[in-house]
């Protein structure tokens, strides 16, 4: 037990060091790499907190997708070498002091939190058998707080709409400006031919296992998105134009299925987003499958960025 505590303390120290270097690194690129490392470390931290579902999401999104997105941005921004004009020392000291105060306040709230632990876990565990699911987190996401999950999908679509709206007028409905490899490269092509089939199997496995064990639509969808991006980057397939009908159907498929099941619940189970007794599990699995497709499409398109005018290529 003591070894575990020591290891945890070391892990915390490492996370703090890497986290600090994302802030204090001199070049933006260094900060981005530190952030990728930080995301991978956080996945281990979440495992130590016994939150496997979160660890899966963090490893996929925090380390992988965000890292790729930020690396691309750092590479493009490198073209503008502006002198990093930092705030003056007194300002930094002052900001540092206030931020330390905020952190101390948060830490104090943690340490002085009431002895009586408020938890919704018993309520969730009590009602979980009625949904037929084995994973309490999936139960919360799709039954207990289904409205949050539905709205989150809408947020993803809104963000995508925002990204696409940044395209110049003539590029609307064009191909996303995702950076692809400069010229065909046999090694990368090989990777992009072998890895995606493996990734697709893992993604489907994640989605399928999510009902009973950690995993689910988010994690599965992220893997599928990453594999799609890999294929596009390796020049094995073109990114679809943002006006592509199939792409748009894929994007709204999940939320539409979710919403129609929710509306059907209004008739069949007397409440919005309620599932008729006995049908909860098949309905949730159907929603998860539909959402996996939509999440994959939305995340990949978010990472691909706004459409680009053709002549700039």
């Amino acid at each position: 037990m003591t070894i575990a505590t020591f290891a945890d303390a070391g892990l915390v120290l490492l996370v703090l060091t890497i986290g600090a270097s994302t802030i204090f690194a001199r070049r933006a690129f260094d900060a981005v790499i530190a952030f990728v490392v930080y995301g991978l470390l956080l996945a281990i931290v979440w495992v130590r907190l016994s939150a496997i579902d979160v660890a899966l999401t963090e490893a996929a999104i925090g380390g992988g997708m965000t890292g790729m997105l930020l690396l691309g941005a750092a590479a493009r921004l490198r073209a503008v070498e502006f002198d990093s004009f930092a705030a003056a020392l007194p300002v930094r000291l002052c900001a540092g002091f206030l931020c330390a105060l905020a952190a101390a306040g948060l830490a104090g709230a943690l340490l002085l939190s009431p002895k009586v632990v408020l938890s919704l876990a018993p309520a969730v565990m009590e009602n979980l058998p009625r949904t037929g699911l084995g994973n309490p987190v999936a139960g919360v996401l799709f039954a207990y707080r289904a409205l949050d999950t539905l709205l989150e999908k809408v947020v993803l679509l809104l963000a995508l709409l925002g990204v696409w709206s940044l395209a110049p007028n003539q590029a609307w409905n064009g191909i996303p400006g995702l950076r692809i490899y400069d010229q065909p490269n046999t090694t990368l092509t090989f990777l992009a031919q072998i890895l995606p089939p493996v990734g697709i199997v893992v993604g489907i496995y994640m989605c399928w296992v999510g009902a009973n064990e950690p995993g689910g639509a988010f994690q599965g969808g992220t893997i599928l998105a990453a594999m799609w991006l890999l294929v596009i980057i390796a020049r094995l397939a073109d990114a679809p134009s943002t006006g592509n009908t199939w792409l748009r159907i894929g994007l709204v498929f999940g939320p539409v299925v979710f919403l129609s099941v929710g509306l059907a619940g209004l008739v069949l189970a007397n409440a919005f987003l309620a599932y008729p007794p006995g049908y909860a599990k098949p309905l949730i699995v159907a929603i998860e499958v539909a959402l996996t497709i939509s999440i994959a499409a939305a995340l990949a398109m978010l990472a691909a960025g706004p459409p680009k005018p053709v002549q700039q290529q």
Binding site: T187, F190, L191, L195, V198
Partner: protein
Amino acid sequence: MAFARDLFTVLALVAGALFFLAGTVGLIRFPDQLTRLHALTKVDNLGLGLVILGLLPQADGWFGAFKLVSVWLLVQFSGAVVTQLIAGALRERGPCA
């Protein structure tokens, strides 16, 4: 039998951990980037390979063992290809890349 199994695990894990140590020392000490890449791949194949070999007898059932081996194969494959990619980029663009 259980003792032999545990002994095997201990030996393989210690050997794997030593390769992790060797790989990281190489990564720190080796003079140029291509040799450092070489040290990195040793961690991928031998370090992780021995760790997984040691964990296999403790795995729960055939499916658990299968998953462990497939994780190793995945790391092995993607590690090798990525190293190749980085080395290619280094050769094309020079050591400062």
